[in-house]
Amino acid sequence: MAGAGALELTGVTKRFGPFTAVDALDLVVPSGSFFALLGPSGCGKTTTLRMVAGLEHPTAGTIAIGGSDVTGTRPHRRPVNTVFQSYALFPHLSVAENVGFGLRRTRTPEVERRVREALELVELGHAGDQRPAQLSGGQQQRVALARAVVNRPAVLLLDEPLGALDLKLRRQMQIELRHIQTEVGLTFVHVTHDQEEAMTMADTVAVMNRGRIEQMGPPAELYEHPRTVFVANFLGQSNLAPGVVVEEGGGTLGVDVAGHRVLVPAARAVAARGTVLVGVRPEKVRILVAGQEPGPGENVLGPGRVTDVSFAGVSTQYQVELPGIGTFGVFAQNLLGGATVPLGAPVRLAWAAAHTFALDGRDAAEGTTDLDEAS
């Protein structure tokens, strides 16, 4: 059954009373991929996952697994397994009995060998006789993973399984999960609100907001080409400034941002006329102190003033206030040691025009909401 099929959602909607949790969702997860559903809490990602597992029923739309429609199928008849956020290990069964639970239900032969192999895969070969309560959080998490993986489901669903772990263990488990996914070759659908987790682990990330998918693609593409304000801010950080498109030609847009002319590659612009939001990632921006001049093909904003300098080990993060535009963040790598620009210094900001992107200006009103909730 491994890798037999992809997951396909068509027009899936879920309403709880007047609240629409998932809104006409269309989604195709390719077979064998590591797919992440990323979004803030309440965006509908867990509801989507529960509908795939059969634990919730969609109000409208169809769900197909491996090419066959399972919309009306009871959960125990679906070829999917879930790693629950709370692990949901059976406390009255041993670790080995937990892992063998699904195999026994499907009357799979050689339960003991498969259970042993699954436990060895998650490096818990020695813990089979223990009770879940005797294990640490990270070990319980791995038992939950083994309990799901051992069944070789067509789709493995992970509902924020790393949420309860501390940061270090989480990073370690991310690498392990990734490793296990390539080893067993199953289709993983991973729900998370941690953008870093989604980017480091998944082949494809779908950013969800308010029951809809805002944008979907490989992590690098989402990061470099965000198409909405929500994606630009939820996936990493973005400096956004409103402007008006004043010229167009040669594959480049000229945008007027508070009197400065900023060039945007037309291919990186969601809207090509009227009001737009010009954006650039903080690590792409460099600070020009007095006497420094921008290079060719660079956009320049300023002068402005440094309002905050914070040292973060590998980089220094500056906040620069640009009158009439707003505050821009700048990440400077600490190649020469610590901070090189003092607080209050008058500076200009420059970045390669090729790294500029432009979003639809009408997007500005919404989009930035939910961010507090997400962090």
């Binding site: 597992a53 059969g54 634990l55 009871r74 959960p75 125990h76 008849r77 999917v80 397994n81 879930t82 629950f84 709370s86 949901a88 290990l89 059976f90 406390p91 009255h92 639970f101 699904g102 239900r105 499907t106 223990q130 309560a133 005797q134 640490s136 309990r147 069944n151």
Partner: protein
């Protein structure tokens, strides 16, 4: 528990003994003694002394040539043999009735507890209402309720008439003064003791475990058998004990709903021996036997159910 403690000690030990955690200081004051004292005095006066008196009475011998009810302290172990020889049918019937009532209460009570705890989960108002309904019978007296049952099961009441109409009961058949009436009364009177502990353990059951069962290919019936039922077993064990123990010693139901020939239970016999026949040694030895048998049965049952932490 020792394993858990061992795991807990692991990381501290691995830290190279840098942080030696001092053992929790033992309380030096004798406050615990004073806290225990009221309970100890209470138990001594109202449990230990009566039990010793009961044991002593069970070995008394009649005074030669004495009046009815006159006994002298002795070590007449034959009292037990006499009592058992005369009243073993009532004794076994007591445990039989109690067992039937426990099974009936389990069959009726488990679904009730399941509905309140699982089906009504997330609706605290409904849960509260249903729980009040379960406990409501306690608002009136045990005796009154049993007398009411006598009315309900009476020959001219609707239950008997309906059963006769349906030919489930022969013409002229009756319910009062039958074992059915006694077992029904026992079941009814002790049902809340079955429902409440099962409710408590089902209420604690994490619904995500049931979802995990469904997710791991277990049908609802299989999930119930492999997840819900085993996890509610502590409640089942507690409930069956709370019904079985008082039901075995009960005499209210058998005297009010039964007759004196084929439904009398050991409680009734003890009552009659003590207060009517004034045969204190037989009554006392039957009480001791009742206590011992319950202790042995319960001990074996709890050991079998694997929930020693209940005791």
């Amino acid at each position: 528990m020792s394993l858990l403690a061992g795991l807990g000690a692991g990381p501290a030990g691995a830290a190279g003994g840098a942080a030696v955690v001092p053992a929790p200081r033992r309380p030096t004051s004798r406050a615990w003694l004073w806290l225990l004292l009221p309970g100890l005095v209470y138990l001594l006066l109202l449990f230990v002394v009566p039990v010793v008196a009961l044991l002593a009475t069970s070995l008394y011998a009649p005074v030669p040539g004495g009046e009815l009810g006159q006994y002298a302290p002795a070590l007449r172990v034959a009292n037990y043999a006499d009592a058992l020889a005369a009243f073993w049918p009532q004794l076994t019937r007591s445990f039989g009735f109690a067992l039937l009532a426990t099974l009936a209460a389990l069959l009726i009570g488990y679904p009730m507890a399941y509905v309140i705890a699982v089906r009504a989960r997330g609706r605290p108002l409904l849960q509260g209402l249903l729980l009040v309904l379960v406990v409501a019978p306690f608002f009136t007296s045990f005796i009154l309720r049993t007398i009411a049952w006598r009315q309900i099961l009476a020959d001219d009441a609707f239950v008997v008439q309906a059963l006769q109409l349906l030919h489930l009961l022969p013409e002229g058949g009756r319910l009062t003064a039958t074992p059915v009436a006694v077992v029904s009364g026992l079941t009814y009177n002790f049902l809340p003791f079955m429902v409440l502990p099962i409710y408590a353990s089902l209420e604690r059951l994490d619904p995500r475990l049931v979802e995990a069962g469904a997710d791991l290919y277990a049908s609802p019936a299989t999930t119930f058998r492999t997840v819900t039922l085993p996890l509610s077993l502590p409640g089942v064990v507690a409930g069956t004990l709370l019904v079985f123990i008082p039901a075995s010693g009960d005499y209210v139901n058998s005297s009010l709903l039964g007759n004196s020939t084929n439904t009398s239970m050991v409680g009734q016999v003890i009552d009659a021996r003590f207060f009517r026949v004034l045969d204190y040694p037989t009554a006392a030895s039957l009480s001791v036997v009742l206590m011992l048998v319950i202790l042995v049965l319960v001990g074996a049952y709890v050991r079998r159910a694997g929930t020693e932490d209940l005791l």
